[in-house]
């Protein structure tokens, strides 16, 4: 039995099956990301300014990732357009670039994550706080682990300013960057020690939730686009119209993933 409307549009909806399916799926995705975005905005509006980390994300890296995703959205649509023009060779070329862009995005994101896992905040018993790196750049260190290791002091390389510092202090520190000197902090003076991991604060909890969920979508999209580039492309020779529709549906998902990033980037990195 042949499944109807895999290539031709249904008369009542004007769409073929897969397009109806992907839009229903994307509607559920809008609800998922919409709920997380709303949570972020409400948590931020309700937080004390001095407790809300700001300026800790690497804007140039985020910008590069934004450019990578914009390029990938252009190549994914060009791959589809190439099939419409019956040019299978060009489709392969554009599809390969899309997969490479997806992998580049994930590579840059993992580098960014690693940087956060080795960046720390120290809350001292006298009420002062500082951010910076611990000597040796260990990951996921906590006060309990330091105490368990029997250490009495840690070597800490503080950042030029804390994220809660005033605009003037940040401006002066940027204009006159001093030397990065290591300071010794007695473990007995530390009240809390945390890397920039989800447990650090509400900000990082929602930052990792949103970006990791988005990253999983990028990975999923890369797998599907990679499949259509590789073994799935055999269908072009047996059923070219259906294959073109599959590429369009994958492109719609990819555009949704890219559009989410277009909102994520300013909200997390710039505001």
């Amino acid at each position: 039995m042949e499944i109807p409307y895999t290539t031709k549009p249904r008369p009542d909806t004007g769409l073929y099956n897969a397009k109806v399916g992907i839009w229903l799926f994307l509607a559920s995705e809008v609800m998922l990301f919409g709920a997380l975005f709303s949570s972020y905005i409400l948590l931020r509006v309700g937080a004390f300014v001095e407790n809300w980390p700001h300026g800790l994300l690497n804007v140039p890296i985020g910008t590069v990732n934004t450019i990578v995703l914009i390029v990938s959205s252009i190549t994914v649509v060009m791959a589809w357009a190439s099939l419409k023009m019956k040019n299978f060779g060009k489709f392969k070329f554009y599809q390969a670039i899309t997969v490479l862009c997806a992998l580049m995005f994930l590579g840059i994101k993992s580098f960014e994550y690693r940087d956060k896992f080795t960046h720390y905040e120290v809350w001292k018993t006298d009420g002062t706080r500082m951010t910076g790196h611990i000597e040796g750049k260990p990951m996921f260190l906590t006060l309990a682990k330091v105490k368990a290791a029997g250490k009495e002091k840690i070597g800490f390389i503080p950042d030029p300013y804390h994220y809660s510092a005033s605009k003037e202090v940040k401006h002066t520190a940027k204009e006159h960057p001093g030397e990065h000197k290591t300071v010794e902090i007695a473990v007995s003076e530390i009240k809390r020690l945390s890397a920039f991991v989800p447990a650090h604060s509400t900000y990082f909890a929602i930052y990792f939730t949103l970006t990791a969920l988005h990253g999983l979508h990028v990975l999923g999209g890369a797998i599907v686009i990679g499949f259509l580039f590789g073994p799935g492309s055999k269908m072009w020779h047996s059923d070219p119209e259906r294959f073109t529709n599959r590429v369009e549906v994958a492109g719609l998902f990819w555009h949704f993933v890219d559009l989410v990033w277009i909102f994520l980037f300013p909200v997390l990195y710039l505001l």
Binding site: G14, L259, L270
Partner: protein
């Protein structure tokens, strides 16, 4: 909605982001904390935004026969 229509929406959103970043950086540049690099990046952002709009025009011309549905 076809991939063509979604792509137009996406490119419009991306160029809006580029123009927004450009204007924001121009505001930072004009503030007391502004630096020369802010102006440089503001111009780069606005150029990117314009580039995306030009591309959008080229894209619509190239795929004018494809449906928006």
């Amino acid at each position: 909605m076809s991939l063509k229509a979604f792509h137009v929406i996406f490119i419009t959103a991306a160029s809006t982001l580029a123009f927004g970043c450009g204007l924001w950086l121009l505001r930072v540049y004009r503030s007391p904390e502004g630096a020369a690099s802010d102006l440089k990046w503001a111009v780069a952002s606005i150029v990117c935004g314009l580039g995306l709009l030009v591309y959008e025009g080229f894209f619509l011309k190239k795929l004018r026969k494809e449906s928006f549905l």
